[in-house]
Amino acid sequence: MPPNYYHLLGLSYDASADEIRSAYRELARKVHPDANPGDHRAADAFIQLQKAYDVLSDPKARQAFDESLPIAFKTPPANLQVFYSRSSLMAVTDPQLLYALVRIGPSENAVQYNKHPLNVCLAIDCSTSMQGQLLDTVKATSIELVRQMRPEDIFSIVAFSDRAEVVVPAMLSQDRHRVETSIRMLQTSGGTELYQGLDLAYREVQRNRSSKYINHIVLITDGRTYGDEGVSLLLADKAGKEQIGISCLGIGGKWNDSFLDKMASISGGTTMFVNRAKDVQTFLVEKIQHLESNFANMVRLNMHLGEGVELKDAFRLAPDAAPLECQSPILLGPIPKESPLEFIFEFLVSPFSAKNDKICLFKGRLFLEIPGSAEKNSLLLDLERKVHQQTDPLPPPQLIVQAMSTLTLYRIQDRARKAVEEGRITDATRLLQNLATHLFAQGNSEFAATVLREASHLQRTSNFSEVGDKRIKYGTRALLLLPSNMEKNV
């Protein structure tokens, strides 16, 4: 029985020819006899590596070898589906857009996974503005969450304002009585200095971080932090690389949503906006429930774009609608147990030579962090399209039209905000009116009225009202999660 050549090269079963070649080259450089003179183990490893490459690089030999492998190794860790807006690219002289919607669902054997233990830290903004009902609700919800924690969960709480302190240190089987008392004692003072709280929360989670846990920071804030955005983002990036997600709950109108969105997207978390104290509870309880019932903790995508191809936009449609980074590696967030992870890419394809009959959009690999799974779980994701001389006669799939119809509304909102920032108030008002028109047409008259009110507020004062811009942003985002959309996805 030969060794598993895929393991030897550190590859998974669906490895592409390119991946096999580059893995081989990289390893060969390391174990080459010239680089390790007199080292017998390296010499043996080099011979093995050579054998592995000979087999896997030859399609026939690879096929024969594949047949000898156990089924379990050959079963992909998740189901992958790709939909394109066009069945082919057009041979035109203009740059063109192409959309690809990717859906990753848990594989059949995923149901046997149990709820994963948590390693969660709540970072609570205790600045003066949180005083009263807000902090009371956050306290009550935190106590409720503590009571829901299972013996295997690790839970911690950090409070921050001008300075940060650990209210409940991260550990197993806490003394609930003492924890609840500590939470009740939380008091407001000072301003919001987010980095301090984030850093302390990160350390609490980091201490027990392991792949068997779901490691996450939930940040609750109602204020804008000044001057420490840069360091916070660096920390979020580091956390993301260490599989610590950061989710943010922004309350009211003062917090900096672009900053918190960015932090969530680079760490693989989510951002939510609430305007009422009672929604805080709903968000927190749901967030924790979702965390423990994920099939995969995090999916990250490493990719190389094809020649002349630009990834213009990446957006996650489900489970939480949010913009994604367009740079490799892209953190796509978790795959829930019951429903798939869905995201859509917008590619800008430059005019290409008429000789091409196929265009590679990108080559990539999805890495799935499945808690409790010893295997390295990954999936190949190569996107390419054929070239046709004529326009594609087929209409795009309904799934993509639907997603883009709502995503377009989100983008109009985005453009309106940009226009306001640049002082183009007339443009911004026009865009908001366009947005309202569509919302009316979709029967969403309440939200449409909100948008119209905001449009006229904008006209009068040249700025958004205090919570207006956030309400519209997260409102349009929530449209993507409406049940009508979900049904079509099943």
């Binding site: 857009l97 959309y99 039209v401 366009n434 979709q442």
Partner: protein
């Protein structure tokens, strides 16, 4: 480049929706995504021969109704607690809850989304939605975006179109 049929904005080939106005672009026909709410029911109600109101003792079916002063027709406001008033226009997907296009609204200077009427418990409020020609309550101009309380028999004028407010006691 392709041109948005609605606002003439230029979009790249392959785009599905106009990035400016959000309209579905050509070449994606055959997929209906925008559902217009039918106003057929309202039209029926409006055209059905309601007896001319004999104020103030009219027997009204709904808590709030509008009487178009020029024609005497009654529009009941039912099943919701907020209504937008305006006129539909061709090529414009804005549809107010109460479409006054049938009452020469265009000539009367009614905006597409002119005003709203909201019921809040026993109180009823009118609000101008920033219309071009403004709204008046019993001849007094009302400021835009400020709710104004309505009483039975009040005359709400949208542009030049006069509507009388009928409240059931």
């Amino acid at each position: 480049m392709i041109t948005c049929p609605n606002c003439r904005h230029s979009e790249l080939p392959g785009a599905l929706f106009c990035s400016h106005c959000g309209a579905l672009l050509e070449g994606t026909t055959g997929v209906a995504t925008q559902n217009m709410r039918s106003t057929g029911q309202l039209a029926d109600q409006v055209t059905s021969s309601s007896p001319p109101p004999s104020l103030p003792s009219a027997e009204l079916q709904s808590a709030v109704s509008l009487c178009v002063v020029d024609s005497g027709q009654i529009i009941p406001l039912e099943n919701r607690d907020e209504f937008t008033l305006g006129r539909s226009a061709e090529g414009q997907p804005i549809l107010p809850d109460i479409d006054l296009a049938g009452f020469r609204a265009y000539e009367m200077g009614v905006s597409r989304l002119h005003a709203s009427i909201r019921m809040d418990g026993k109180q009823v409020f009118a609000m101008d939605l920033g219309s071009v020609n403004g709204s008046r309550l019993n001849g007094q101009k009302i400021p835009p975006h400020k709710p104004c309380a309505l009483n039975h028999g009040d005359i709400l004028t949208l542009g030049k179109l006069k509507l009388q407010i009928l409240l059931r006691r």
